[in-house]
Amino acid sequence: MFKEVGKNIQRVDGYSLVKGNPVFTDDIDLKDMLFIKFLRSPHPHAVIKSIDTREAEKMAGVALVLTHQNTPRVPHTTAGQGYPEPSPYDSVMFPRKMRFVGDRVACVAAESPEIALDAVKKIDVEYKILSPVFNPEDALKDGAPIIHDEKDSSGILDPKHNLVGEVEVNVGNLDAGFGEADVVLENRYEAHYAQHTPIEPHIVITYLDENGRLVIRTSTQVPFHVRRICANVLGISIRKIRVIKPRIGGAFGTKQEVYLEYIAAYVTLQTERPAKFELTRSEEFTSRTRHPIITVLKVGARKDGTLTAIDMRILSNTGAYGSHATTVMYNTGSKVLPLYRCPNVRFEGKVVYTNLPVAGAYRGYGATQGYFATESMLDEIAEKIGMAPVDLRRKIHIKEGETSPIFDALGEGKKGIPQVISSSKLPLCIEEGFKLIKWKKKPKEEGKMKRGYGCAIMMQGSGIPAVDMGAATIKMNEDGSFNLLVGATDLGTGSDTILAQIAAETLKVPTERIIVYSSDTDFTPFDVGAYASSTTYISGGAVLKTARKVLEEIILIGEKMLNESKENLKVENGKVVSKKTNSSVTYREIACNALYETNQHQIIASMSHISHKSPPPFAAHFVEILINRGTGKIKVEKYVACVDCGTAINPKLAEGQVEGSIINGISYALTEEFIFNKNGKMRNASFRDYKIFTAMDIPEMKVVLIPSHEPSGPFGAKSVGEVCINGPCPAIANAIYDAVGVRIRKTPFTPERVLKAMGEIEHLKDIHKMENY
């Protein structure tokens, strides 16, 4: 059995975080630091005719004003993805054309944030106003305003129709499939904008080290992509840049973006002074968001619940720039459709620009929006064929040993890779969850509170197959401890701890003997970063390989020291022991021998890891809600999530990821909403007006990890960071239907929308005029 893996080992960074040690980006104060503030566009679509910065530059304390006139114009994508990037090159440091309210016009670097803010107001800009387009369906039409019409951008499929990318895949015979069906339903589902709201907003500090090299200390998910993208945009060599990721106060995808770093870096390079750039909360809201997606879904089923055809068409709104545009669109198909056993499937996706805030990566990455449609639809099908929702779920999902043609047909921004499900305990998840929710037959209660139950099943992936790569280095010290150096990026998820546990288990020492250092491009090996639910599976795989290699080296030295062949040796508790004589050498003795005595050398290894598959974690969610028929308010009474994430390397941290996803998801389903004015400006860009769940709102949650063994994962592990964000929207929509008999196909389920659906309010004016966006 395992000694370190599967245990709730304390986080390696836990004490320093709890004590408030200076661990975050903002916790250092550098001499002569400059503070940067943006001037942002007040118009959703406009061209800068002229820009006059003289008054701002004259102000005492202003060091530098940057605009499109004095910065390099290098088209790039801000999406921190593998290279070559799948997102279009449609961004420059400071554009001349403004594409949403909040687009970057200029920035001021000054001696204090207050001076910078005052100076920003002194910049005089004359705009030529262009007509905007907000509705994604309108954006596709002939004659719609063209948002990206500049010659030097690339990777946009059809700029004239604001079309960033599209995809269509066909599997089987769709018409035949619908022909065989006893029931065919078609509906439109809409999932809305949302922001990640990390407690720590985007922040970066840049400075020159003692040798004049640029150091970028940044709150990022992707330190190596930051280095590559900054080198490109700044026109300097990668070797001149060091990126350090300190502790991070949450990311959830929004920090898989690179767009503040190169501006701060440019200020530092120009002034030779440290610079700090931190977004305000209101800026954070329109930094990056979840892609709103309209899904038109048509499903055919037989009376026994067998699915005969699925036709899924999505329209994704990427806002002003195409960050993660095509990959999120692909994922809505590739992470959703393989869950369902169905021989005839069509997936069609389009992703368009609009003059609204920029979308990007957000936990779930398109799958969340897709599952809202499919899992709502399954309940509608179940009702039509007279089957209990849970019985239909039992029947239609992919099982261990099975494959789906979608794995091959759809990848991330390109064709996929075929794979067979090598681990799934989804059937058990469904049974256990169903038991725990105590789903009751609806009593005929006449009161104002109506009770409802709903469920949803879901999957995600573990890394991007044949794309994501992580590497690790382990070196041994003379006290028998090990430095573990990883490019992997702990976002507060606890991955440093998990990777240490994997190393400790392999090297047969307690986790405390592993000293983790991560995410520093000068000192740690490469890793793509923390996204696509990859860290435990991909980076963990690299740590496992590296630790095994170091262990081999240790045994080799043990053979010589004990004068015993490998077959007669075993490793336990930081010792190499002879099975025959029981004599042993400690790691300490082995390390000292290697460093000081015989065949002197450093015991060290580096290994890299990729995977040709992306084993999905699975989950079944069940929810019990109460709806107040008078007010339309929904109270989540109980939420049950049963999750198969393979082996949970650290169960407490895995449960934390599940609980975090559920709260994140319920909050998205019930209260979080972007409200725009007629100009496409977000009206509620503050925590006062954009309501995320507080501790008071959190329902009773029951999380059960149902272990499986994924043969390709370290110690059988799969991912757990994203999968559970996919459940709350459909599970709650289904529970609403169960409670009051109305189907809401547009998120979020605010009391206003619930009452409207119930026919209690006739129509909603003003506030929701923009809701189609």
Binding site: G630, K691, T694, M696, P751, K765, I767
Partner: protein
């Protein structure tokens, strides 16, 4: 920016009267507005040291010092016993941090149409005591507000005390608030109700609503309709429609006209039904 820390009321009054002079009580509104660069005060008069933090019984009346924190109100036996409608409302306010800092005087002076203490104070028909170098005056809370963020306080005045009559045992009450979530939420609509009940007959009804107009308002026509009526399901159905006609809410980022109108009826109905059922339960 100059900050004054007066030790007594007399001294405090000497600093008041200037155009950009603001009073600091709990700071839960003022500091936020300064940080948002919504206001640029030239001077701030910090009144925290003025010993205006008290809750006293004075015959039939309760006197509450303007600096009494929301949390103190919530924990007060006196308020809980003699002004339960206020006690209920302050329990639903903000977060522990905000309740510890925010004061009753500040909540009133800030004049938000969504202020949580105000509808109950309307129902209690509270009097607001104001002091200035010119002397002291009392104003009924129903005449205190003139618009969103606006009230009748002169530049040289500040609130020192809130006074209201003890509620009696034949009085019935409720406070309802709808927000976007459970804590730290600004009301989409709030409703306070007070009245006397003999048997199932209502009298001296007072209804106040928050967040449906530019200030907290009385629903007078609705209250009049209920006076001398016996509480029945029919009466409740009718009155919940009357209140929807009486108010003129607006749409803003928190909610819509239609929803707010509907909710005025729904909240009144739920509260009155609860009263009716408890009477029936007592009688049987």
């Amino acid at each position: 920016m100059k900050v004054y820390n007066p030790k007594n009321i007399k001294e405090a009054l000497t600093y008041l009267g200037g155009k950009d002079t603001h009073i600091l009580a709990g700071g839960t509104d003022l500091i936020v507005r300064i940080k948002d660069r919504d206001i640029y005060p030239k001077s701030i008069v910090n009144i925290k040291m003025l010993h205006l933090d008290y809750i006293k019984i004075n015959g039939d009346f309760i006197k509450v010092g303007a600096l009494t924190s929301v949390e103190t109100l919530y924990r007060s036996e006196i308020i809980n016993t003699y002004a339960p409608v206020l006690s209920d409302a302050v329990g639903k306010m903000g977060s522990p941090q905000i309740r510890n800092l925010g004061t009753i005087g500040g909540n009133i002076a800030n004049a938000s149409p969504a202020a949580d203490t105000v509808p109950p104070l309307f129902v209690l028909n509270a009097g607001i005591t104001l002091k200035s170098r010119r002397g002291k005056r009392a104003v009924a809370i129903g005449e205190f507000f003139t618009g969103p963020g606006e009230n009748i306080i002169e530049r040289d005045e500040f609130i020192t005390e809130v006074v209201f009559k003890k509620m009696e045992s034949d009085e019935v009450w409720f406070f309802k608030k709808l927000g976007q979530r459970k804590a730290l939420t600004i009301a989409k609509i709030s409703l306070a109700f007070g009245g006397r009940l003999s048997g199932r007959k209502l009298n001296e009804v007072s209804i106040a609503l928050g967040a449906v107009a530019s200030t907290v308002i009385y629903a007078k026509r609705t209250a009049d309709f209920l006076n001398s009526k016996r509480l029945t399901r029919d009466v409740i159905d009718v009155v919940s429609k009357i209140i929807q006609k009486e108010i003129e809410p607006i749409t803003d980022i928190r909610s819509t006209v239609e929803y707010r109108r509907k909710m005025a009826g729904a909240l009144l109905k739920q509260g009155l039904l609860d009263i009716m059922y408890s009477v029936i339960a007592r009688q049987s």
